[in-house]
């Protein structure tokens, strides 16, 4: 991993002339977790996809840039709610997918190290269908890490997991993504309160920055301040919708 840039997203988007979100400004400080919290349909995933350089169907006007003025999309890793594991490939083959798609030789020692750190060493030769939901998301995480991108975009990657597995995955993700610039898009106030160094609530009215709890990330699930923040976030989400 090279130097970690911070990102700045600034602009507005519309679909078929209908505004999706008005002009917003979202700063993602280098090496930190920025959480973008919002209900469905406010365009938070669109922001993430725009940064990743993916097709959104929306008309975007504005700028997306890195604070070192380098290119953005080639330095971005992407992880979605769907683990996107290829069902016909083994765990190992899925983890090294990026190298295989670029025609590069996969870095075997790195693969072994990542499988070990994600607790998948014993599953390396299995097909995704043989794994549990949590294990599959760990493969997806290992695949993201294998890419070794300084910026990682997470589009609700933990929302399909049960509560316990989700908390475990959050801890693991924070540990393994340390030092990278992370944008986490989520609809879960608890997740934003646990993980965000910076937290923004996105509503049809725009972006609203919330002061994060003081405890270091990942915060304890029963940390009082975190729970209070979680409540405040939920309150904001509900207010703005009404």
């Amino acid at each position: 991993m090279t130097d970690t840039p911070g990102l700045l997203f600034q602009g507005d988007a519309s679909i078929d002339e209908k505004p999706l979100f008005a002009r917003i400004r979202l700063e993602m400080p280098p090496g930190r977790w920025t959480c973008l919290l919002g209900g469905s349909g406010v365009g938070k995933s669109t922001i993430l996809r725009l940064i990743a350089g993916l097709d959104t169907g929306a008309e975007f006007s504005g700028t997306i840039r890195a604070d070192d003025d380098g290119p953005v999309t080639p330095r971005v890793g992407y992880m979605a709610q769907d683990d996107l594991l290829l069902p016909w490939a083994t765990v190992s083959q899925n983890v090294v997918l990026g190298a295989r798609l670029r025609g590069e030789r996969p870095d075997k020692p790195r693969l072994d190290r990542l499988l070990h750190r994600t607790g998948l060493t014993d599953h390396a030769g299995k097909k995704p269908a043989e794994l549990s939901g949590g294990q599959r998301q760990r493969v997806a995480l290992a695949r993201t890490l294998m890419e070794d991108k300084p910026v990682v975009l997470l589009d609700e990657p933990f929302s399909a997991l049960d509560a316990r597995t989700r908390a475990d995955m959050q801890d693991l993700a924070v540990e393994l993504l340390a030092g990278r610039t992370v944008l986490l898009v989520t609809h879960e106030p608890a997740e934003a309160a646990r993980l965000g160094h910076a937290i923004h609530v996105m509503t049809p009215g725009g972006l609203n920055a919330i002061t994060p709890p003081t405890a270091p990330v990942p915060r304890d699930v029963d940390d009082e301040e975190t729970l209070r923040t979680q409540g405040a976030l939920l309150r904001q989400l509900r207010e703005k919708v009404a």
């Binding site: 996809r49 990743a52 350089g53 993916l54 097709d55 999309t73 080639p74 971005v76 890793g77 992407y78 979605a80 769907d82 996107l84 290829l86 069902p87 016909w88 997918l97 990026g98 295989r100 798609l101 670029r102 025609g103 097909k127 269908a129 890419e147």
Partner: protein, 243 residues
């Protein structure tokens, strides 16, 4: 496990057949009974075997060529916009033509031998293979393509490592359909003009009022088609698998 119901169904069909023969007492040149057909089949087994071999060769060659052509075409269509614009309408149009109507002209072009029948089989299976595989190639889950894009994958790698494997179950259903259609194509070719093959034998026997031999040839064709279908089904089980 599956053999028992199949056996029961066969016996049931034979019983109905025999019942119709006994009840209507139709002359044997109109509707021969199962026993007579079995006997005719046995006495003519060498002739039937020879013609079965001829038809089998046509069908297998047609299946191999048609499948290969279909696969190549589907990949071409899936990767090239120009190919889609130029070739796709033609492909649909050829499907609108009755293949049966093409049989005489194919015989005129390719002669009475093996190749006019192979061509018929190819024509009849080319479309289902192409269409089903192409459809699968165009329906790659969006998420895979997004992921590949963030990994700076080359279009070629995306095709061979993601789109083609993801489309294999669709290809499998196309091939299974093709296995059912290919014998039909070959037999139509034989009806139009041939000196060998089960279709030719059926026509010959029919013309000489040897209805029992006609039935024997027809049933042989049926058994061959079912076996072919089962073989292809089994052969494609691996690629039709999990999704």
């Amino acid at each position: 496990m599956k053999a028992l119901p199949a056996l029961a169904a066969t016996v049931f069909a034979l019983l109905i057949w025999q019942a119709v023969v006994s009840l209507t007492s139709l002359p044997r040149f109109i509707l021969p009974g199962p026993a007579l057909v079995a006997e005719t089949w046995w006495t003519n087994r060498a002739v039937i075997a020879e013609h079965t071999l001829a038809t089998a060769l046509e069908v297998l060659l047609g299946l191999a060529l048609g499948a290969a052509l279909g696969i190549v075409t589907a990949i071409q269509l899936a990767t090239s916009r120009i190919a889609r614009v130029l070739v796709q309408p033609m492909l649909v149009f050829t499907q609108a033509l009755p293949v049966f109507a093409l049989a005489p002209i194919l015989t005129l072009w390719l002669g009475y031998g093996l190749w006019s029948k192979v061509a018929m089989a190819v024509l009849i299976i080319y479309f289902p293979v192409t269409a089903s595989f192409f459809d699968g190639l165009m329906r790659t889950p969006r998420g895979y393509l997004d992921l590949a894009q963030t990994m700076q994958a080359s279009p070629r790698a995306v095709l061979w490592r993601i789109r083609v494997p993801a489309a294999l179950p669709s290809l499998a259903s196309g091939l299974r359909l093709a296995a059912v259609y290919a014998p039909i194509g070959a037999v139509i070719g034989e009806w139009v003009g041939a000196s060998r093959g089960l279709g030719y034998l059926m026509l010959l026997a029919n013309g000489r009022a040897k209805t029992d031999l006609m039935f024997a040839a027809m049933l042989t064709l049926g058994v061959f088609s079912v076996l072919l279908h089962l073989t292809v089904r089994r052969a494609t089980a691996g690629i039709a698998g999990e999704r």
